[in-house]
Structure formats: C-alpha cells, structure tokens
Amino acid sequence: PERLAAFEARVAADEYIEPNDWMPEAYRRTLVRQISQHAHSEIVGMLPEANWLTRAPSLKRKAILLAKIQDEGGHGLYLYCAAETLGTSREEMIEALHAGRAKYSTIFNYPTLNWADIGAIGWLVDGAAIMNQVPLQRTSYGPYARAMVRICKEESFHQRQGYDLLLTMVNGTPAQRAMAQDALNRWWWPALMMFGPPDDNSPNSAQSMRWRIKRETNDELRQKFVDATVPQAELLGLTVPDPDLRWNEERGHYDFGSINWDEFYAVVRGEGPVARERMDARRAAWDNGAWVRDAAAAFEAKRASRKAA
C-alpha cells in the first residue's frame, strides 16, 4: 500500500517508471497487453503493404515501400524488447497472438486492393497511429516512452511519403485518380475506428489515463485526427466518404457521421475481411521458420560449448 502510493505519486508527477522499479501487477499486465498489442500491430501491419511490394510500379516506390515495411518490423522489435523488460518473452507474446489471445490493430484486417492503398495507409493509418502515439512519448513506463519517441519520428516520415504517393496519383491519369478516391473510400472509416470504441464504452480508459499509459481519450484523439485530415483530403481533391461531415464553427471542429460499431466489434472478434489471411500468414511464417530458429539455436549452443571447452 505504501509502495503503491509512492508509485502513483511518481506517475502523477510524470516521472518515468523503469524495469527494476516496483509496479502494481495490474499496471504491468496492462502494459504488457498494450505494448505487445502494439508490437503485433507493427508485425501484422507489414502484410497488407507487402501485398503490393512485389507489384510496386516503379523502382523508387519499391525501395521506399521496402524501407517503410522494414521500419515497421524494426518498430515491432523495439516494442517486443520494451515488453520483455516487463518479464514476458517474445515467444510467449507471439504464441498469444497466434492462439488468438492477443489482439492487434483492427485496421490490418482490411485488404489492400490497389496501389493507392499504399498511399492511403501511410497517410491515414500512420497518421492515426501518430495521433495515438504522440502522447505515448510521455507515457509513464520509460522503455515504452523511449521506443515511442523513435517510432513517432519514423511514422511522420511514412505519413508524408504516403501523402506524396497519393499526390502523384491524383495528378495522374483518371484511372489513378479513381484508385486514390477508391482507397480513401475504403480506408476512411476503418482509420477512424483505430482510435477504439467511443469514450462511454471504453472500460479501461480511466485507469490507463490515471497511470499515464494513455493520455487522451479515444474520442478526443479521433476528433483531432478528423480535424487534421479533412483539409489534407481537400488538398488532394478527394472526397471524404461521409455525407455528414461539415465544419462546426461553434465547436471549432468538424462534425462527422456515426461509425459502424457493429463492424468494429466484428473485426475485433477476428471477423474482419482478411483477418484469417493475416493470421494464416503469420502462423505459416512462424511455423515454416521453426527449423531455421532451431538450427540457429543449435549452432549457437555448439559454438558456446566449444568456447567453454
């Protein structure tokens, strides 16, 4: 109880908690869940983009996309490492994902259907991720906060690249413009869902806010995203697929239509359009790679024992 009070005071004072510091079990559990979910999202998130990597229409775009997906893998690595400082191994986390016990961002259960989707993911998905993540640079757990600083910097870069890809396409042929609009039509609502359920239905939010694992509410972040993104869409000459979208002078914010929460919860349950493909791909990569990991481990063990001898 004393330790708990001291812990809460440090968090309230915006101090960082470090791996060897005492922390409540619930805090540890919540963090592992959140950080591993975030790590899983980075890894699963490689798949929708990799789907177009072999079809990138220029060598420059192929290199940019390859580097971007690589960054995401790198983010996954930092985050697994950050979560490991809390006492859960990467293997355990990956097994939880493959068994369906751990979640990842719902957005990656939507398919990438044309090349403009690569731009839309950078612009909207990375854009929404940044909105979610910028506050986490000041989250209470030190290793997580520091990982976030590096991740946010790279995500901003990805967002600009995505926007640039779309800018090229809207200035291209009618077919390219149509692809860009089609991508916006399909990614807009899933991007808004990335901020999670509405505040009045977000059970863990209050606790997470108190612990500085979260620093703004889902609805606040969602509004911020809409306000920032709508003018960018206008600049592209694309139409946001929401008939209820309009500027509210009084609120100083955009009003927007209501989200299909039934779809959101279906996707959370694992019934998203390509959720099975995503999990099948991850499981296949892991299972087909088992012999490689085994070989590397056996080789290391042999080398170590040779050195010891």
Binding site: I43, M46, L47, A50, L53, T54, R55, A56, P57, S58, L59, K60, R61, K62, A63, L66, A67, I69, Q70, G73, G74, G76, L77, Y80, W115, L165, T168, M169, G172, T173, A175, Q176, A281, A284, A285, W286, N288, G289, A290, W291, V292, R293, D294, A295, A296, A297, A298, F299, K302
Partner: protein, 250 residues
C-alpha cells in the same frame, strides 16, 4: 559503349533486379523479424544497384529508356539475368544458398568493375561492392549455421545446394556481348572470375560441412534470354501496374 556492351550491362543489372524482386517476396514471411529485416536490406541494396545500372544502360542506349522503362516494359526474353537468381525462394535454405552462390560470383565481378575504364560503371561498382561484401558475409554465416545446426537444417541446405548448383555455369556464361566488352577492356571474362568464386565456394562449403559439388549437366541460357519457367511469372507480377497503365507515372 557499343550497343552489345549495353546489352552485356543488362546481364549485371538484371541479376540484381530479379534477385531483389525475389527477396521482396519474403517480406513479412521470414523465420524471424531479424531475418525479415536483413532480407529487406539485401533487397534494398540490389534494387538500388539495379536502378543505377539500368539508368546508366538506358542513358548510353540513348533511346529515352530509364531504369523503370527497362525494368517494367521488357518481356522475359529480353531479360539477361542468370537463371540462378530467378529460382523461386523455396525454403530459407534455398534462399540462403542462392544468395551465397550469387554473392560469391558478384564479389569478384564488382571488385573488377571498380577498375573499369568506364568511370560511371566503376563508380557504381565502388558503391555496390561495399554492399556485396556484406551480402557474402551474411549468406556465408547462415550457410554455416544451417549446415552445422540441426540434422534437418543440414539436409535442407544440402538439398538447396543440389537444386542451385546446376545453374552456376549459367551465372558464369560469357555471352558474345560480354566477350566483346571484355575485349574492349570494360570488364574481365567471367571465366577469369571463376577461380576466386571456387575459392569462396569451397571455403563456404567447408564451413557448412557440405560436400564438394558433383558434376552435373549445366543448365544455361539466361544471358541469351532463355530462362526457366519461373521468370515470366515473376515478371507478370512485377510489371502488372506499368503494363496495365502504360501512360501513368507513379
């Protein structure tokens, strides 16, 4: 550069391009995240090399073709890569073995190209050779790990060797175009690179505990545009967008 020298240059460029494209297929599907990132790195290097080489070939050709035009608007018959690099990824052992054989060939080649009298080519080679040294090191390390790891990994890497070995002569095939460039002093004959390759090969096989190659009927033709069935499928995917939208820029 004479027209046939430009065609010979495509032999080098297409090797990097096709192997880079193959490695892209691993993205998101590798045995570990670390391997995924490493394979992406190799692919990035190769695609970068291909871009420089193809742009240069296009410039020298002087018909307005840039790297993208050459990469995305040639049919399989016009590709000059060796059949080795177009072989499917297969399991990780095949990918490692393919990369080892390629890097063992590409290192002495690019080393030699750094002193080509063609300044631009020498410059591209100087940039690339640093990358390719790492490729060889990376592939050799994995070759050893797989060869000395478990029984299964040894079996797989031996099988991979058996698969790829018959394409090595294709890698080293000296086409008429290449010979003409060699006569002009632009580069050595590939046959001259073979001793260096054999040395690297034998050292790598020894580290991995693999037996020396048996003689096989070599399968050749890549440098002449006679490929395996795998290349046209690879290109169908790679070229789909520029072919479907020839008037677009991306």
């Amino acid at each position: 550069m004479q027209p046939n020298h430009i065609e010979a240059l495509l032999e080098v460029a297409d090797d990097s391009l096709v192997l880079g494209q193959r490695l892209c297929e691993w993205c998101g599907h590798a045995p570990t995240i670390e391997v995924d990132l490493s394979l992406s790195n190799l692919a990035l290097d190769l695609i970068g090399q291909a871009t420089l080489l193809l742009d240069y070939a296009g410039e020298r050709e002087g018909q307005g073709r840039d790297a993208d035009r050459l990469a995305f608007h040639r049919d399989a018959e016009a590709f000059r890569n060796s059949m080795l690099v177009e072989q499917p990824n297969g399991d990780f052992a095949r990918t490692v073995m393919r990369h080892f054989l390629f890097a063992a060939y590409a290192n002495p080649l690019f080393e030699a190209l750094t002193s080509s009298p063609d300044a631009r080519l020498a410059e591209i080679a100087a940039k690339s050779i640093k990358e390719l040294r790492y490729h060889l090191e990376y592939a050799t390390d994995w070759l050893e790990r797989l060869g000395q790891g478990t029984e299964e990994s040894h079996r797989r890497v031996a099988e991979a060797y058996d698969w790829h070995w018959r394409f090595v002569d294709d890698l080293f095939f000296d086409s008429e175009a290449w010979k003409s460039g060699a006569e002009s002093g632009l580069w050595p004959l590939r046959a001259q690179l073979r001793p260096a390759f054999d040395e690297t090969l034998n050292a790598g096989l020894a580290r991995a505990g693999l037996a020396e190659p048996k003689p096989v009927w070599p399968i050749v033709g890549g440098r002449l545009g006679k490929h395996s069935e795998h290349l046209s499928s690879l290109l169908a995917t790679m070229q789909v967008l520029p072919r479907a939208h020839p008037e677009a820029t991306w």
